[in-house]
Subunit: 427 residues, 2 copies
Amino acid sequence: MKIYNNPPVKDWGKIAKRPVFETEVIEERVKPVLKKVKDYGDIALKEFTLNFDGVEIDSFEVTDSEKENAASLISDELKQSIDIARANIEKFHQSQRSHFEVIETTPGVKCWQKNIPIQKVGLYIPGGTAPLFSTVLMLAIPAVIAGCEEIILCSPPNKEGRIHPAIIYSASLVGVTRIFKVGGAQAIAALGYGTESIPKTYKIFGPGNQYVTAAKQLLSKDGIAIDLPAGPSEVLVVADKTTNIEFAAADLLSQAEHGVDSQVILLTNNMDVLYDIQSAMNKQLAVLPRKEIAEKAIANSKAIVFEDFKESVDFINEYAPEHLIISTKNFEEYSANIVNAGSVFLGYYTPESAGDYASGTNHTLPTNGYAKAFSGVNLDAFVKKVTFQQISKEGLKNIGEAIQVMAENESLHAHKNAVTLRLNDVK
Amino acid sequence: MKIYNNPPVKDWGKIAKRPVFETEVIEERVKPVLKKVKDYGDIALKEFTLNFDGVEIDSFEVTDSEKENAASLISDELKQSIDIARANIEKFHQSQRSHFEVIETTPGVKCWQKNIPIQKVGLYIPGGTAPLFSTVLMLAIPAVIAGCEEIILCSPPNKEGRIHPAIIYSASLVGVTRIFKVGGAQAIAALGYGTESIPKTYKIFGPGNQYVTAAKQLLSKDGIAIDLPAGPSEVLVVADKTTNIEFAAADLLSQAEHGVDSQVILLTNNMDVLYDIQSAMNKQLAVLPRKEIAEKAIANSKAIVFEDFKESVDFINEYAPEHLIISTKNFEEYSANIVNAGSVFLGYYTPESAGDYASGTNHTLPTNGYAKAFSGVNLDAFVKKVTFQQISKEGLKNIGEAIQVMAENESLHAHKNAVTLRLNDVK
């Protein structure tokens, strides 16, 4: 860990800086993939799946019998755990429902905002050795609660042409409409443009490697909505003398094991606490299966001492961490002052793992400082708010003059005329 | 107007297609502007302002005396009209406030979502012959209600180095923090990167020409949030035998006068109504000051007859218009079935102009079919929703086992360990 002792404000920008990735090369490799899927549909998907995933796929869609089988292929223990997580995620996201109210802004002028689900959404779940079924829950549950009509999930097939049963099980359980065995940039293209097999969707969610990220970014230039700009996962842990050293070390490591580019920051007001946590990390690290990954991430991590509480809070808000764990006695004092963070974990018994899996909050969160302007995925991410208005004759009499004057001053005479004609009619 | 009589579904995609602009050439011209502002700050802004706006600016910020003067330079009539609009916009956007509630998803597991204003927002208001003070109201009022700390407005100076007093007056009135005389892509760069004079902001709002649009798009690749992807303004008017022909014609023209690329669509179930509206448009057009612009937009416009109600609704949802005016007796039947639109205007006395200026709804709306996935600007656009959670010992006992099982099944052992250590502690 690189240690900073009471760094001056002028250095904060540099300390808070995330790694910058050269995206242009990746984009140039992704563009022809997108174009080919757009132009040739399923034929292109088959070719890319053979080349990139090393498997020939005849029919992309996961069948009903595959779905039925999935349940028998995973343990009862996992099923029960998924049920607990599902119930909590449902409860929390259901609480985010908002209801519209008709507002009479002026007598006779009624305005309201209606939450309408995005009809078709695409969810991408990466492949790899570990099946990210938790992300299936995090994306599909709010989509179902929002009322999205078509929830299309894509995930890459393994060499045997299969998707991990835990992904299929979770998706079927919570109400994903259709599941397809396609991965990478070609899956994102299919969700954005549609093919013979895969329906076009209006908004694409989910994590992925740099090709997936580039594909989402390129599609968003075409007006297809995406959940969030992507970046490596991050945690900032706040610790002091009241903190349980082992817990804090475990929290830092649980971020570090994600990948070598994981961003791990320890913030404390006490140098002894810093050293103690460092040494606890080294001990815990020794027995981790993903030791090598975590070790590299830790080598790039930062430990910062701020003796001053206000400086400490200001730095957190400048850094805007994806995950913020405040593992101190005075966590309430901190949390009241936090304005930039993705998700905040308060107190000694609130590890990030809880929010990653089962407490109910979403784990799809803004990284890379984007928490300054972006929310994590929540129920709102699956709805649009459409405004409606209805004006009576009386209402138009009340605001018609103002509209005419304003339109005239903006030199928009046809705008004015649309009111003038109506006012003449109601006189 | 190009007329389509009961077009089959297979043709809808083509009819609903918007003009496609070649953005690459523009982007290549904008990139060096962004880079120069990023590298050289105010010096670059001065150079670009001299080159593009033809005026030398020493100090970009609008002074207090300019603000005080502005009020005396616009008519009392306009001030009163702005007051009426402001009150309605405030009332409607204040009603969009949502309050968080602490949810106990499982005993001992408390989760909540807090609305936190984006600290620094940038508003861009284009120059030109007509001052878009209405857009100042639409962007600044919700920013103030949300509680944004810094609301920075940029607008290009005219040849005399001034911003129109109606813009300055409106901005000061509603609480814009600082106003700067900078326009074009260089203004967007300044709001995104910050310069010596102009503070960096986290989200940039507002309309503009293709250079401004390209600059916003490019900055959004760097993770700076923007309000909406841009496109030419649009209206779809629904008319039948109950519709007032003159009103419908005026509504179509009020869209057409925006620009030659304005998208204007008339949808009706009756060919006679279509012809009547066309002829009314021709008559009204003759006396419009912006006749030439409107004429060109109308030449590219479309009139569609659908005898079938359901087809009519389905087409609207496929087109996803920015503005939808339903000027028929059965507007409620329509509006209940609308899922894709930016803002919907119901009944005979609800012209789009009302929502453009003074009814209270926002006029910054998704164009180009983006209403399928995007909301217009509303209070939410100025806040982030940050999740918090606090878990007690009891709470961790309740969900700890599920977290451990899920983490293990995703091969994330450090995630599991962060829970195991805590569970051992509370046993």
